[in-house]
């Protein structure tokens, strides 16, 4: 065999996707319901009392943040579970004894997790469009941001899945770090609405840059310059790739 093991990548990808299709109803219905709930609570009940934010109705303003929240959580959860489960039940032996390299393994797992997150992100946007009037000013940038986020957070999830030694740890990072960062990253508000001191603190939250950039692609308004947003997500992606490369090179938590 010469060249990349495309069939190996395909096998991992299909295997991961089949798990997703087995639970399609759950994968599809739960984001629709939770998004609808957000719109009922934030859009209709609270949003009706909030004036426009940066010239956009509150209901529409929160859509990009909501999509990001779900996409990030889904990417992490799917990728981390995808690689953790074989480690947990022991089927990882097959992956480690197969003629596949780390890049191919990552492509399979991360590709599948990103696909699932992308699918759910799309479902949320479609659901949201039923509640609020949305516009997408920069569709290419929107798709690019969405895909970059899916891929980089799926990579991050993959790392968590390799690091985790039990189910508790698997839940720990998404629950204790990612969700707070997303909530405090301007999903539901503009950074300019915060007191100046908190605005400075918020700038250390990497998620701010992603949500700001994504929202810019919808409404043309951003908390931080779009170039900075791109740089932030590029940096995050680069860091995750370096970490995965090191993991496979050293065999950390995979090959004793």
């Amino acid at each position: 065999m010469t060249g990349p093991n495309w069939r190996g990548i395909g096998a991992i990808y299909r295997f991961e996707m089949s798990r997703f299709f087995r639970t399609l109803l759950q994968s599809f219905v739960s984001p629709v319901i939770s998004t609808s709930l957000y719109f009922v609570v934030f859009g209709a009940a609270i949003g009706s009392r909030i004036e426009q934010v940066e010239g956009v109705s509150y209901g529409a303003f929160i859509v990009p943040g909501l999509v990001m929240l779900t996409v990030m959580t889904q990417s992490i959860t799917n990728a981390s579970f995808g690689i953790y489960f074989p480690k947990f039940i022991g089927t990882i032996y097959e992956l480690l004894s197969a003629p596949v390299n780390f890049l191919e393994i990552v492509l399979g797992y991360v590709g599948a997790a990103a696909t699932k997150a992308l699918f759910i992100g799309t479902v949320i946007m479609v659901t949201a469009s039923m509640f609020v009037e949305m516009q997408v000013m920069h569709p290419f940038a929107m798709v690019a941001f969405l895909m970059l986020t899916c891929v980089s957070f799926a990579l991050f999830g993959f790392i968590i899945g390799i690091w985790a030694e039990n189910f508790e740890q698997l839940q720990l990072v998404p629950l204790l770090i990612v969700t707070p960062l997303v909530f405090l990253g301007g999903s539901f508000y503009s950074i300019s609405m915060l007191p100046p001191a908190w605005q400075t603190v918020t700038m250390f939250n990497p998620v701010v840059y992603l949500i700001s950039g994504f929202r810019w692609s919808f409404y043309g308004v951003a908390d931080v310059p779009i170039g900075l947003s791109l740089l932030a997500i590029g940096l995050f992606l680069g860091l995750c790739m370096a970490a995965v490369w090191w993991i496979f090179r050293s065999g950390w938590r995979l090959r004793p």
């Binding site: 065999m1 190996g8 299909r14 489960f85 089927t91 003629p99």
Partner: protein, 310 residues
């Protein structure tokens, strides 16, 4: 016979300092069945895992059909199928899709005919659409073998294939191994059932404390180390061996009621004729005689005990 797997001074020391493999060298010939015998913790699984890429060696090298397992891991691993010791399968997967996955993972194009043949050979064809969690333990183990054979490997590693398997299934597994050998597959299996090695292996390797104590043709090993014993029941118990018998390797047992004579089957003479005439000359009346041959198990226990004492 040329070697398909060449293990050269392989070392594995874990991060905690435990040395699992100590300068292991081993040549595995094309098409043979090699049984690796050893007590628990001897290093059998570490050796297999290192060859298959699950464990990183800390020294030495392994070549599979001339391919270095580190530098040419793709070529090396493509030739190897591994059946792990534990039953590790995705419970919700269907048998056939699990086997297809394994084939794809190893970069082979879809070949339904091969998958059907493999599943039929392992009596799993009727269960192809069952979910793995619905199968019995013996079937799950066969699914693991089917997965390992999905990419048509030339070398198959079986790590304790019959651990915790009932007698009938064990014999079934032996038949499977014999069938694979007939197909030209080289098989390396670890076991701590001596009878298993005796039944199916061409060669036997004994491993203890991370070192290979010996690798030998099974029959030669039995012949070389197989010692026979002649037990002589006496009519009248003896208190001591008579003078005239001191030249023989004799032992007085059962409070003098019997004599045990140990002799080498590979030697030019067994010495039995002379012993019997000396017994008659000493006036000892015999009641019964019987012979017994040491099994591979005795050999194995002897070797391991020697090693432990050293």
């Amino acid at each position: 016979m040329s070697a398909i797997v060449k293990v050269d001074r392989l070392e594995k020391t874990y991060a905690d300092g435990f040395q699992a493999l100590s300068s292991v060298s081993l040549d595995i010939a094309h098409g043979e069945v090699l049984a690796l015998l050893g007590p628990n913790g001897a290093g059998k699984t570490t050796l297999i895992s290192t060859i298959c890429g699950l464990v990183q060696p800390t020294g030495g090298s392994v070549h599979v059909d001339g391919h270095d397992i580190a530098a040419d891991y793709r070529q090396a691993r493509a030739l190897i199928g591994l059946v792990p010791q534990e039953i590790t399968l995705e419970p919700f997967d269907k048998v056939i899709s699990s086997v297809r996955f394994s084939r794809g993972l190893f970069g082979k194009p879809r070949d339904e005919a091969h998958i059907e043949r493999t599943l039929r050979q392992l009596s799993l064809w009727d269960k192809r659409n069952s979910r793995i969690k619905e199968l019995s333990g013996g079937m799950k183990r066969r699914v693991l073998i089917a997965k390992a054979l999905a990419h048509e490997p030339r070398i198959l590693f079986l790590d304790e294939p019959t651990a915790g398997v009932d007698v009938e299934l064990r014999r079934g597994m032996w038949d499977t191994v014999a069938g694979l050998k007939a197909d030209g597959v080289t098989i390396i299996l670890t076991t701590h059932y001596i009878e298993e090695a005796e039944a199916i292996a061409d060669r036997v390797g004994v491993i203890n404390k991370g070192r290979i104590l010996l690798v030998e043709d099974k029959d030669k090993l039995m012949a070389r180390m197989g010692r026979k014993q002649l037990r002589i029941e006496l009519h009248e118990p003896l208190t001591a061996l008579p003078e005239g018998l001191s030249g023989h390797d004799l032992e007085l047992v059962d409070d003098g009621a019997a004599l045990v004579y140990t002799y080498d089957t590979a030697g030019p003479r067994t010495g039995i004729t002379r012993l019997l005439s000396d017994l008659a000359a000493a006036g000892i009346v015999l009641r019964d005689i019987q012979t017994s041959q040491s099994s591979l198990e005795d050999i194995f226990v002897g070797l391991v005990q020697e090693e432990d004492a050293a």
